[in-house]
């Protein structure tokens, strides 16, 4: 993330790493998750799901910060993220709510 | 605080008797909207419900009143509303919701003359066909017709019992005269009043199906919060209660909805007879018009006619077989009702030409004089 100045506590902040899960067959291809992902990690897949829509896929999965925004804006319960258990052991799990 | 059952002799109106019957039957929720001549039911319920830890709420219209009692019914509460013609019309859509979702509740209709605002508020029995078919679609319903304040008390209890047993809204089709007249009402000891509660589900919650018929065709009904996570919808639904948009699902649902009533007619239908043993002229009547019929039978007998009275306590479902049987052996059937022919046509249909069916009706506003029946008997027989 770009800052106009380095935050004073930059050293203490640990950015959570997330894994994004996509239930492709629930997707109806609205693109909200792709458009509003703050890290812009998603894109439409070329393939079709069983309803004939292009589901999203993670172009840059390693950039996911587990913010849950895709999960919360998805009207279809088709995408969600979870904390990557490997990312950090010191950071407490982020309460998604 | 008064007890639920006010055992003793009372001199009260039919409306108040309906309210006392409801309280005695365990009614704990009343959704009201004032309308003459049914207002006194609401007034008395407002007074009495706190005694039994129940809730009274006056809603913003009759649509809200019936919607509120349907909601209350799903908390496991016995609930009721009371209205008259115009309010009854407003309730029709949600009456259908009650039928479709198999929600037990009681609706008292203290009938007045219509159409529209009509004669506020003189008597009438013109809502009988609306009671049967008023909500859109095909369905079965139960309607009772009290002829006195004492009946009002018992029929309201009976209405609750039938509605709980068969999971269907039950209509008590009183009328202005019955509702407003005061007579002696004997309220028995609480132990003498038999009450029926809706069947409750047992067994595993994950296997529970909301509309899976029980032995008598009626599905057990959980309350909100019991943990069954039911979905209740007015859409055509399958046995789980889930919307099912198919011809097959519609047929299955209608089979269940109609079957639970049609297959239990013997248990549901109640009639009373007066001097019917040797009668060859049978007066068929219900509600306040029963009183016309009773006097007419006695007067006709004095004149040498073998008249008898069949009183329909349950008007809907209609006692078709009974009318058919009677038609086989009598010279004629005379329906007495304060309208210009509603139940009469049912009698005629069931008589099926085996015996002629006649109507002594009126446009409404007052009880029919027995002389009108006698005139018809003299002219015809």
């Amino acid at each position: 993330m770009a800052f106009w100045r380095e935050p004073l506590d930059a050293q203490e902040i640990q950015v959570t790493k997330g894994i994004v899960y996509i239930i492709e067959d629930r997707c109806k291809g609205c693109g909200y998750c792709i458009e509003f992902c703050p890290k812009e990690i998603l894109a439409f897949a070329d393939k079709f799901n069983n309803k004939g829509y292009h589901p999203p896929f993670a172009v840059r999965p390693d950039d996911c910060v587990n913010c849950h925004y895709c999960e919360i804006i998805c009207p279809e319960f088709a995408i969600y993220s979870a904390e990557d258990p490997q990312s950090s052991t010191t950071t407490p799990p982020v309460n998604p709510f | 605080m008064k007890p639920a059952v006010l055992t003793g002799e009372h001199y009260i109106t039919g409306d108040v008797a309906c309210a006392e019957g409801a309280i005695a039957a365990g009614c704990k929720f009343f959704g009201a909207y004032p309308i003459t001549p049914a207002t006194e039911v609401a007034e008395h319920m407002a007074e009495r419900l706190p005694d039994v830890n129940g809730t009274f709420i006056q809603m913003e219209d009759e649509i809200a009143a019936i919607a509120s009692i349907l909601g209350a019914a799903w908390t496991g509460t016995k609930s009721m509303t009371a209205t008259s013609g115009p309010g009854f019309s407003l309730m029709m859509e949600n009456l259908g919701l009650g039928v479709c979702t198999e929600t037990p509740c009681v609706i008292i209709n203290v009938q007045r003359t219509g159409p529209s605002t009509g004669l506020p508020t003189l008597t009438g029995q013109g809502d009988m066909m609306q009671a049967r078919w008023g909500s859109h679609g095909d369905y079965e319903i139960i309607a009772l017709a009290p002829a006195s304040p004492q009946d009002c008390f018992y029929h309201t209890i009976l209405a609750f019992n039938l509605s709980e047993k068969y999971r269907v809204p039950v209509l008590v089709m009183a009328d202005e005269i019955v509702g407003h007249m005061s007579e002696k009402v004997i309220i028995p000891d609480a132990s003498k009043i038999k009450l029926i509660d809706r069947p409750k589900p047992r067994g595993r919650k994950d296997r529970f199906k909301l509309y899976e018929p029980g032995p008598n065709g009626v599905a057990p009904m959980p309350a909100i919060g019991d943990g069954y996570n039911v979905h209740v919808t007015g859409l055509t639904h399958d046995e789980r209660g889930y919307p099912a948009m198919s011809v097959e699902a519609q047929e299955q649902m209608m089979t269940n909805l109609k079957g639970k009533i049609r297959n239990n007619l013997d248990d549901i239908i109640e009639t009373e007879e007066y001097k019917m043993d040797d009668a060859d002229i049978v007066i068929v009547s219900y509600g306040i018009s029963v009183r016309t019929g009773l006097t007419a039978v006695d007067e006709a007998r004095k004149l040498g006619y073998k008249a008898g009275l069949l009183r329909l306590v349950t008007v809907w479902p209609f006692p078709e077989q009974m009318i058919k049987d009677i038609a086989e052996r009598v010279r004629g059937l005379i329906t007495v009702e304060i309208n210009l022919g509603q139940v009469h046509y049912e009698v005629e249909r069931c008589a099926g030409g085996k015996a002629p069916a006649y109507l002594v009706g009126s446009a409404g506003g007052k009880i029919i004089h027995p002389d009108k029946v006698i005139e018809l008997i003299k002219e015809t027989f």
Binding site: I23, I73, C74, E76 | G31, L97, H231
Partner: protein
């Protein structure tokens, strides 16, 4: 047993799967429709209260939004058009321990059901009303609603809507609601927090959520779903505590979002208990 904890052989279930009837998914809502987002927020809010699920019940009327009740794995009621609030009022008054949520649309709650809304607010009925406002009747194909902006095109206003829309937060406030807020589906975190707050609030709570109807409203008014969301992003202003009089919807001027009202007032069931349930009576 797990030999390689780095790899997930099985994908974990969606965090809301315990609250949805997964056997009924996919739901009927169109691609780009915002109702699913509002619904999802509502379920997250329910979850976040940590109140046992069997104390919740969801009631809805008729319309696209009203189908929500059919997807939530709670005791849920899909009632008649416009009558969700009186049905919910009956539930609440008969069992005040329940948390009753009405989830429905603008046509259902404010046209055919408008009278019930103002009276439930007047009584301060302790229920939470979540209104998905998509500015139209979606299920019937996009007719003019009581919330459709002036001049908008709908199937029944082919020359533009000659009528003016309701200001819903103002109506809720004027009718006596204890909690009034407005969000859009883009502000879904605020929305979730707001619904959570409303569920915990004693009294009549009302949350309006602006949501796109791309098929039946957007299409006729030259708005693609993402255009609508851009409007929500660029032409809205969050002003908590704003005067509801200023809350009319005009995207040219900027639509005010936020919590407008949060007051304390005795609820209908409390008042009934204290007024009518006498400890003893003279007679």
């Amino acid at each position: 047993m797990t030999k390689n904890p780095k790899k997930y052989n099985k994908q974990p279930v969606h965090p809301l799967d315990d609250l949805i009837r997964t056997d009924r998914i996919p739901h009927i809502w169109c691609s780009g429709c915002g109702i699913g987002t509002v619904f999802s927020s509502c379920l997250k809010a329910i979850k976040a209260t940590e109140i046992p699920y069997n104390r919740f019940t969801m009631v809805s009327g008729i319309g696209c939004s009203a189908r929500g009740a059919g997807y939530v794995n709670l005791d849920s009621f899909h009632t008649t058009h416009g009558r969700a609030i009186p049905f919910a009022s009956g539930i609440k008054m008969a069992n005040p321990d329940l948390k009753v949520i009405v989830f429905s649309g603008d046509g259902d709650l404010f046209a055919i059901g408008g009278n019930h809304f103002i009276h439930a607010a007047r009584r301060n009925m302790d229920i939470t009303v979540v209104c998905v406002n998509n500015l139209t009747y979606g299920m019937t194909g996009g007719q003019v609603a009581a919330t459709t902006p002036n001049n908008a095109n709908t199937t029944t206003t082919p020359f533009g809507n000659p009528d003016s829309p309701f200001n819903l937060p103002l109506m809720a406030y004027a009718s006596g609601a204890s909690y009034v807020a407005r969000w859009t589906i883009l502000h879904t975190r605020d929305l979730t927090d707001s619904i959570n707050e409303a569920i915990n609030k004693k009294g009549f709570s009302f949350i309006e959520v602006l949501s796109p109807c791309p098929i039946n409203y957007g299409r006729r008014n030259k708005e693609k779903p993402l255009d609508t969301l851009k409007l929500y992003q660029d032409n809205t202003i969050i002003k908590n505590g704003a005067d509801p009089v200023t809350a009319d919807i005009d995207f040219n001027r900027g639509v005010i979002l936020g919590k407008f009202v949060d007051t304390e007032r005795n609820t209908c069931d409390d008042m009934y208990a204290s007024t009518c349930h006498r400890p003893c009576s003279d007679d």
